[in-house]
Amino acid sequence: MSKMVITGVVVAVTVLAASCGSDKAATAPSDGNVATIEVTLTDGGCDPAEISALSGATTFHVINEDSAAVSEFEVLDGTKILGEVENVTPGLDRSFSLTLKSGSYITQCTGGSKEKGTLEVADAGSGKSADPAARDAAVKNYLTYVASESKLLVAAVAPFADAVKGGDVDKAKSLFAAARYHYESIEPIAESFGDLDPKIDARDGDVPADTWGGFHRIEKALWADDTADGMSKVADQLVADVNTLDGSIAAIVLEPAQIANGAVELLNEVSASKITGEEDRYSHTDLSDFAANVEGADAAFKAVQSLLASSDSTLATTIEGRFKDVDTALAAYKGDDAVGNGYKLYTDLTPENTKGLSTSIDALAEPLSRVAALVLQ
């Protein structure tokens, strides 16, 4: 089990008030990029005189087309000069860069009829003025998905538990991966309820042996011991636990950034345990879990995608393309056997196969990890 990132009902993200002016604003510095602010020196002073920007690395590109009166531009914090360019005479342009922190600064174009201007820097993490309605809609969309998966989980666990209790090992085996699927698709949500995930999804050794229950306890009995004997109580408890989970969904409060982080968390689950075959070490049904994690990540990303600014469209396109690449890679390992829930068993894969799958997950998770900061609100 990994440490969880999402905290279910506790809102972990501080929401700061946004104060974006209507003047020319800098483009948001996304990861690795530097925002550029253009300032023109005029006889009247700095143009624009009032600048709004987001915190982070920022380049000031200072242009003098034809002002004889003004040839320098300064950014000041009180009286302290943070950055400046001088001798920008008509026809010249010069640049300088600063890493801006949020706050109020002064701009100065000495010699202009109005020398001083303002620079308001909002925190990039919270300064985006995404429409609150859009934000609420994004969260609602995702929670609808979570609730739907949770219902499917309850519905899939019931016949599995019945087969276990009835001692039908073969039938239980054929229902195992399908029962897990809808848990794996919303795993970070389940993990946010501290005690539920260990009860439902602990692997051998994760918890004291005498308290070990859940999916993997039954998996071990079915595959390693070839019996369902003694598993009735474990099956009953599993049914109770997934119902508890289902009953808790309605109370969940989420931030868009948590949803985006949850998507990355799901892919980390794939990298850490599914691709190594450690998750379902007796049944080897890891690819079904893999597919569920990816489906859950896709649902989370799609929910928050509408919050990305148009300037982030390249990132969104990249992520969409890489989800497709993962789907294509996974589609090569479809299988007919009921045990695999539509996929081949992990043991049917060569190291070359797992390397290819792992690579496609890494390629997707890297750009996806940049989304959370961009949808913060």
């Binding site: 982070g56 943070l82 890494d362 940049r370 913060l376």
Partner: protein
Amino acid sequence: MTGAHPAGDTPPSDQKSPTLSRRRLLGVAGATAVGGLAIGASTAAVIATRDDDHPSSGVVVPFRGAHQAGIATPAQDRLLFASYDLSATAERDDVISMLKEWTLAAERMSQGDPVGEPAASEYSPPTDTGEAEGLHPARLTITVGFGPGLFTLDGKDRFGIADRRPAALIDLPSFPRDELDPARCGGDLCVQACGDDPQVLFHAIRNLTRIARGTAVIRWSQEGFGRTSSTTSSQSTPRNLMGFKDGTDNLLSDSAEFASNVWVTGADDPGWMTDGSYLVARRIRILIENWDRSALNDQERTIGRTRDTGAPLTGTAERDVVDLDAKDASGSPVIPVDAHVRLANQDKLGIHILRRGYNFTDGLDPRVGQLDAGLFFLAYQRDPRKQFVPLQTNLAADALNEYIRHVGSAIFAIPPGARAGDWIGQTLFT
């Protein structure tokens, strides 16, 4: 000078540069250590130190220039080499943007700076992975190469550059006694990171690999320690894992013969490779246990030199001439007919390469409980068809073959360096 302690102790208070810069703090330290030499002001590919054997780790090797750094650069102490496969879904534009990003990142890291500007938000993963913060630039050089698979893979012209593949970028032929492991061979791209601090090298490869995600993945990698050749006249000859001085007979970057044997010129085809070079990499495992139980005189007759001084068997000092015609009292050659120095003798063959290899160990070979160690051979040259291939072919009868196995192999075209504003590979793709 009090300012010469490692960065990280005192964050700079100047608000203009809230980013801790290894370069700014340590460039000063480096300059002090080498006697006031101006850092970064030189346009030469290499900043010489007073004694290349004891470099100041604060020294920055300029990344930009006509040639890529890491070739003529005096061999640093450490290597981390990575070979990459381009992903099946990568397109031409993906490769180009990766090379552009690599160029900027490599330039920054070689100066001791983080790979990019800090992320705008604490809710983003950090732009730089951070483990080199506070470390010296360590003479880091990053050298990028292009393997045959970049041009054509399984007969497919993936990026529209199949017709630009240099004829000299051959698929290496099989050599007698090759025992190549496909998992340690080939690659569409390579990055050679050299420097004096293994953590700086790890940081460099890690961050370039991160940038490459979705476009390229590491196929194999090799760590190296202890350079196995001297590459300038001021460096002393180091010893390889056989205990012998290695690389006495090497092209030296400050010699007259260097340029014409290493750099591709405008007279060579194709034009985009002008000022580039070709790299052959071979992972040569030494059968350490067998070597260790060989008698000293057997070892010395295998190499053709004495172990103690490195002198040829026909001389008394390391640099004495290797006299291949000398006979002993019984009329037999003093240097045996199958000795390594005879068969690998570059003067006799009229072939010269720059050897820039490193010792390596990957611990124990669990199958046999023996050390997995040897020489990671790196050779730079103007045309492998005329240099590495005939040299290696001539080693078929080498007595040394009894103690070594070539288990990995790759060849790369090393494009010219990136001048200001350019990117590595620009001459190929534009």
